[in-house]
């Protein structure tokens, strides 16, 4: 499984909404690689019953006790989670790049492009970034 699998960014390639329940250590590694490449939050279901939602920014699958690191949505500091503690991975957050390709932008009608640009501008203005 390589990064390139997930980089077409076409709507059809998005994992948004999918849930993986790995049955083996190899499947966990594979699912976590997908989650590492994903451009949105995921929700991890842990063996202890806890669910953790956040953005996976790092993983060490070659470590003697493999782990991933994520920024939980509701916490400032990153959290480290062992692969062996993970039961399921759900791609719950919005895929932030999906459907936003250059081709999609260019192919839109002028009115659609203008509306989208205005929406982004309004958000930036509301947050004080303009």
């Amino acid at each position: 499984m390589t990064d390139t699998k997930n980089h077409n960014a076409g709507e059809a390639s998005s994992l948004e909404g999918q849930v993986f329940t790995p049955g083996s250590a190899a499947e966990i590694v594979e699912a976590i690689e997908l989650a590492f490449d994903y451009r949105g939050d995921v929700t991890l279901k842990l063996r202890c019953g806890e669910s953790v939602a956040g953005y996976i920014f790092n993983r060490q699958s070659a470590d003697t006790d493999p782990y991933l690191e994520l920024f939980p949505r509701d916490r400032e500091d990153p959290r480290r989670i062992l692969y062996r503690d993970i039961v399921a991975i759900a791609f719950t957050g919005e895929d932030t790049a999906n459907g936003k390709s250059w081709e999609a932008w260019v192919s839109k009608k002028e009115s659609e492009r203008r509306a989208e640009a205005e929406k982004i501008e309004t958000i930036a203005r509301t947050k004080g970034y303009l």
């Binding site: 390139t4 960014a9 451009r39 949505r73 970034y129």
Partner: protein
């Protein structure tokens, strides 16, 4: 001359000192990303494809200064995101100036004119304004009308106040060489110190994967653009890197040349590829399998000719070979001799 002599001297003595010390791999430019949040949403940019809670994270000034000291590179490029959104960016910049780092503060310039009062002109500080072409091309590239005009106004204001200003331009596969040459004329007429150019960045997470330049197309395009350069054009980058873009020199990538630090840590292996993060610069240098990256070594690197991988290779060539040094000297003194 686009780059001031003091900066050239600093970089030259740094590179030579690394060579005398026998350091095989050394950083040249720290890529410091203090945030990913931007006030634009360009289709070609892969740096903003994160959930909101990640876009809201910021490096502190102390983290930025510590990264610069730990890395030791003489130059610091501050991309993003849009750095001028960071509420403490002026403090960060001043701290880096105090450390005598040559800073390229990259900005789309939407906020630049409004924030100019926060910065004192310094030989260490350059505003590197993102300009992807003439008005039509630029506004299309950044997905918002009117940004070109705002940026031009901000460039004029910054130049008038005595700041060092350069432009940074990413060229995509639909670039028209004649329009790009005209764009160079317009930028130099604004009074910028120099321009930097690079082919499109093939970010893994960029949504626009089909639009980036392939290697042969890159060489053809840059050959057309840079052949018979005009005397008024100044480029704020290694002339050998421009040779490389034109296909006149062959280089292997130097991924450690522009190490990247951001809210996730030190990024492995380079500014473009995100294969993981480590907590220290030393760990980055010692634990990255450098030989796995570069043209012919990794499929992800096959078509990359981006400055963050190859400009350090060009600088290395300047200081390692007689032909490289002679060519650099010739093109620096006589840029139209290309």
């Amino acid at each position: 001359m686009a780059v001031p002599i003091s900066q050239m001297y600093t970089v030259a003595t740094y590179v030579l000192s690394q060579k005398f010390k026998g350091v095989k791999r050394y950083p040249l430019v720290l890529m410091l990303e203090p945030l990913f949040r931007c006030n634009l949403a360009c289709a070609g940019c892969g740096k903003i494809q994160y959930p909101d809670h990640i876009l809201d994270k910021r490096l502190t000034p102390e983290q930025c200064w510590a990264a610069a000291e730990e890395c030791g590179a003489p130059m610091v490029s501050i991309p993003g995101g849009e750095p001028l959104i960071h509420p403490e960016i002026a403090t960060i910049v001043q701290g880096l100036v105090d450390r005598k780092k040559y800073i390229y503060l990259c900005t789309n310039a939407i906020l630049l004119e409004r924030k100019l009062d926060e910065y004192k002109p310094s030989k260490y500080l350059t505003f590197s304004v993102h300009m992807d072409g003439l008005k039509d091309e630029h506004d299309l590239a950044v997905c918002r009308d009117g940004v070109y005009d705002v940026a031009v106004k901000a460039i004029k204001a910054a130049v008038k106040r005595g700041h060092r200003v350069t432009t940074n331009t990413t060229l995509f596969d639909d670039a028209n060489p004649e329009r790009v040459r005209k764009f160079f004329d317009e930028m130099m007429a604004l009074g910028v110190e120099g321009m930097t150019i690079s082919p499109g960045y093939s970010y893994q997470k960029a949504p626009d994967q089909q639009h980036f330049l392939k290697r042969t197309r890159t060489q053809e395009l840059f050959s057309k653009i840079l052949a018979q350069p005009k005397s008024g054009w100044q480029f704020n980058q290694s002339p050998l890197f421009l040779d490389f873009l034109m296909g006149q020199r062959q280089y292997q990538c130097t991924p450690w040349g522009n190490p990247t630090y951001n809210v996730f840590g030190w990024q492995k292996p380079c500014y473009l590829l995100q294969e993981g993060y480590v907590k220290t610069f030393r760990e980055l240098m010692e634990s990255t399998e450098w030989d796995h990256y570069g043209t012919g070594r990794n499929e992800k690197c096959a078509d990359c000719m981006v400055h963050c991988g190859y400009e350090a290779s060009a600088v290395e060539d300047t200081f390692s070979t007689v032909s490289g040094f002679a060519r650099t000297a010739k093109l620096t003194l006589l840029p139209t001799s290309r």
